[in-house]
C-alpha cells in the first residue's frame, strides 16, 4: 500500500500551527499558518476567537452530595502553559472532568474555547491525555490503531481507516519520534513512548487545548524531561497546555504558571509568587520549606520522619541493642511513654 504524498490532498494540521518536531528534544523549526479544514473534519462549532481557552466562574461541583470543588473561578488564556497542583483528592482530576464535560457543575459557568460546557457533551477542540496507570496495556492494539482512534468522531462509520487518515497518523508519529513503531503492540512501548503515542492521538483530533492528567506520574526522570520538552514545543506552537501533577519541583522549574488547588484555588500565579510556605501549607495542610537555588524554587517536605534502621536478619541473626535484661515478657507489651501516668 502506498502513501504517496499529494500535498493538495494532505489533511490539515491538527493544531493552530503546523507541528514541525524533528525528534524527542527537537525545537520548533517553523510555524506554518493553519490550513483550512475540509468540511468533513471541521468541528461542529468553531471556537470563538479571542475568548480565553478556559473560563470558570464561581463553579461548584461534587459527587453524591459530597462537594469536591467550590467557589472556583479561573481563567486560562489561549497559548498558556499551566500546571495544576494539589494533594490527592484536591479535585485536580475533577477539574479536568469539568473542562471535558464529564462532571456536572451545579453552580457557576464553565467555558472552554469560548463555548459553554454542558455535562455529557465534550467540547470541540480539546485533546486529552489520560494517566498511564489506568490503561490496560495488554489490550490488543497497535500504536497506529491507538493514534487513529483519536479522530473517530470525524472518521467514516466503517471498520477501516482511509489512506489520508493513516498518512496523517504516520506523520504525527514521525514528528513525535515514534516512526517505525506503528505496528508495534502498545504493551511493548516504554513509558515515554506511551506518552508520545497518546499525545499523537490527542493531536490527531484538531485541538487547541491539550489537557494532561498526571503526565509525569509513573515515568522515570529522563522520560519526564522528554515529555516536558515535547509539551514545551507544542506550547510554543500556540497550543494551550494544562496539566495536573504531584511534582511540585517539576512545575516550579519549568512551567510559567501554577494553580494550587485544594477544593478551591489556594494560589495562582508564577512559581516564585505561588510557591511560598504559606500558600503550600494552605494547599497541602502540612508545613513545607521553600529553598531558592540559583534562581530556582525548590520545595522540600518540612516534616522530619525518623525511620529506624531495619534489624539485620541475614543468616537468621538479629542484632539487638545492649539493653539491660528485663523480666520475662516485659518487652512484649507497649512501653510507657515519658509523661504517662505510671498507674494508668
Amino acid at each position: 500500500m502506498s502513501y504517496a504524498a499529494n500535498d493538495s490532498q494532505l489533511p490539515p494540521s491538527p493544531c493552530p500551527g503546523e507541528i514541525l518536531l524533528t525528534g524527542p528534544s527537537s525545537s520548533v523549526t517553523s510555524a506554518a499558518p493553519p490550513a483550512p479544514l475540509p468540511a468533513s473534519s471541521r468541528p461542529e462549532q468553531d471556537p470563538v476567537p479571542g475568548e480565553p481557552a478556559v473560563g470558570l466562574r464561581d463553579v461548584a461541583t461534587g459527587y453524591d452530595g459530597v462537594s469536591v470543588l467550590h467557589d472556583l473561578s479561573l481563567e486560562i488564556g489561549r497559548g498558556e502553559f499551566v500546571g495544576i497542583v494539589g494533594p490527592s483528592g484536591s479535585g485536580k482530576t475533577t477539574l479536568l472532568r469539568l473542562l471535558t464535560g464529564r462532571a456536572e457543575h451545579h453552580r457557576g459557568e464553565v467555558e472552554v474555547l469560548g463555548r459553554k460546557v454542558r455535562h455529557g457533551r465534550a467540547p470541540d477542540g480539546v485533546g486529552y491525555v489520560p494517566q498511564l496507570e489506568i490503561i490496560d496495556w495488554d489490550f490488543p492494539l497497535t500504536v497506529e490503531q491507538v493514534v487513529l482512534l483519536g479522530d473517530t468522531q470525524h472518521s467514516r462509520p466503517v471498520p477501516w481507516f482511509s489512506r489520508a487518515e493513516k498518512r496523517r497518523a504516520h506523520e504525527l508519529l514521525e514528528r513525535l519520534g515514534l516512526a517505525g513503531l506503528e505496528r508495534r503492540r502498545i504493551r511493548e512501548l516504554s513509558g515515554g513512548q506511551r506518552q508520545r503515542m497518546f499525545l499523537a492521538r490527542a493531536l490527531l483530533r484538531r485541538c487547541e487545548l491539550l489537557l494532561l492528567d498526571e503526565p509525569t506520574s509513573g515515568v522515570d526522570l529522563a522520560t519526564r524531561g522528554d515529555v516536558l520538552r515535547l509539551l514545551g514545543d507544542l506550547h510554543h506552537l500556540g497550543l494551550t497546555v494544562v496539566l495536573t501533577t504531584h511534582d511540585l519541583n517539576f512545575v516550579a522549574a519549568h512551567l510559567p504558571r501554577i494553580v494550587c488547588l485544594n477544593q478551591e484555588i489556594t494560589a495562582d500565579g508564577v512559581p516564585a509568587e505561588v510557591l511560598t510556605p504559606e500558600a503550600l501549607e494552605r494547599t497541602y495542610g502540612a508545613p513545607m520549606r521553600v529553598l531558592h537555588d540559583r534562581g530556582r524554587v525548590v520545595v522540600v517536605d518540612d516534616e522530619q520522619i525518623e525511620l529506624h534502621a531495619a534489624p539485620d536478619h541475614r543468616a537468621g541473626r538479629v542484632e539487638h541493642d545492649h539493653t539491660p535484661d528485663l523480666p520475662l515478657g516485659a518487652e512484649a507489651g507497649p512501653q510507657p511513654l515519658p509523661g504517662d501516668d505510671a498507674e494508668a
Partner: protein, 298 residues
C-alpha cells in the same frame, strides 16, 4: 465410523441442517461479541443475561405469549436496568448484573414452581438441537444481520470506548449510547443463542473464543476475526458431537471451545518458555519481542 457417517449422516435429518445454520450464526456472533465482553471485563454479563432469559420465558409462557417475547422482554429489561444501575457512581457492573439478572431468574423459578407449564426446562437450560425450528433460524439470522450492521458502523467507536472510555468521551464518542447499544446487542445475541446453547452455557460461549484469540492474535482486528472463526468452529464441532453422542448441544459446544482453549494455552505457554530459554542462551530473539532500537526513539 467413517467420515461420511460422521459428517454426512446428520444432514439426512432436517432439524440438523437447521441447527447447523443457527449454530454457525450463533457461533460467529458469540465469538465476535466475546472480544468486547472479555476486554471490558464483563464476562459475567452473558451469564447474567442468559439467566434472566429463564425468568422471561417462564413468565411469558405462563401468560400465554410466544417464548421469544418473554425472553426478549427479560433481557432488554435486564440490560437497561444494568445500564441504569452502573451509571450510578460507586456501583460496578458485576454487582448490578448479579442483582438484576439473578432476581429475574428467581422470578422465573418461582413462576415455574407455581404455574404448571409445558416448558422443557432441561432444553432451556442446556440447549437442544432437536428443538431448532424455522422461527429460531429467522431470529438467529435477524439478530446476526443487525449485529453485523452495528459492528461495522460502530466498530471504531466500540473499540475506542472499550479501550479508553474517558478519552473516547472527550474525543466526541457518545460512550453512554455506545454502552447501551452494546448491552442491547448482548441481550439480542443471548436470546438468539438460548435454543442451541442453553441458559447455563451461554456465558462460556461469550468468553472462550476471545480468551483463545488473545493468546495468539496481535491486533484488534485479528483478535476479532480469530474469535469469530473459533466461535463458528466450536459450534460446528459441538453440534456434530451433540448428534453422535446424544448429549445436549450446549455442553458439547462449550466443551469443544474449552478443549481448544486448553490446547492453545498449553502450546503458547510451551512456546513462550522455549523463547525465554533461547533468549537466555543468547541464540534468539529476546522474550517479549525485539525491542532493540526502541529506547533510542524514546
Amino acid at each position: 465410523m467413517d467420515l461420511g457417517e460422521l459428517f454426512l449422516t446428520p444432514f439426512q435429518y432436517a432439524f440438523f441442517g437447521r441447527a447447523m445454520v443457527a449454530g454457525i450464526l450463533i457461533g460467529a456472533m458469540c465469538g465476535a461479541l466475546s472480544v468486547f465482553v472479555v476486554l471490558r471485563r464483563m464476562s459475567y454479563i452473558g451469564h447474567g443475561l442468559a439467566h434472566s432469559v429463564l425468568g422471561g420465558v417462564a413468565v411469558g409462557v405462563a401468560l400465554g405469549v410466544e417464548l421469544y417475547v418473554g425472553a426478549i422482554a427479560a433481557t432488554v429489561v435486564s440490560a437497561l436496568l444494568i445500564d441504569r444501575v452502573t451509571r450510578r457512581r460507586g456501583m460496578h457492573a458485576d454487582a448490578a448484573i448479579g442483582i438484576v439478572t439473578t432476581a429475574i431468574f428467581a422470578i422465573g423459578v418461582a413462576v415455574l414452581s407455581i404455574v404448571p407449564t409445558r416448558i422443557n426446562v432441561e432444553a432451556v437450560l442446556f440447549g437442544n438441537i432437536l428443538g431448532v425450528d424455522r422461527t429460531d433460524l429467522w431470529v438467529a439470522a435477524g439478530v446476526a444481520a443487525a449485529f453485523l450492521v452495528i459492528l461495522v458502523t460502530l466498530y471504531k467507536r466500540l473499540v475506542f470506548a472499550t479501550f479508553d472510555p474517558e478519552v473516547a468521551q472527550v474525543h466526541g464518542v457518545r460512550t453512554g449510547a455506545i454502552e447501551l447499544v452494546f448491552s442491547l446487542s448482548t441481550a439480542a445475541v443471548v436470546v438468539a443463542s438460548v435454543r442451541v446453547l442453553g441458559v447455563l452455557l451461554i456465558a462460556a460461549a461469550v468468553v472462550i473464543p476471545a480468551a483463545i484469540a488473545r493468546l495468539t492474535a496481535r491486533s484488534f482486528g485479528a483478535t476479532l476475526i480469530s474469535a469469530t472463526v473459533i466461535g463458528i468452529l466450536a459450534s460446528v464441532i459441538g453440534l456434530f458431537g451433540s448428534f453422535h453422542i446424544n448429549v445436549p448441544s450446549g455442553p458439547t459446544i462449550v466443551l469443544a471451545g474449552a478443549v481448544a482453549f486448553a490446547i492453545v494455552f498449553l502450546v503458547t505457554a510451551a512456546l513462550g518458555r522455549r523463547r525465554v530459554v533461547r533468549a537466555q542462551r543468547g541464540d534468539g530473539t529476546p522474550a517479549g519481542g525485539n525491542l532493540q532500537g526502541v529506547r533510542s526513539n524514546a
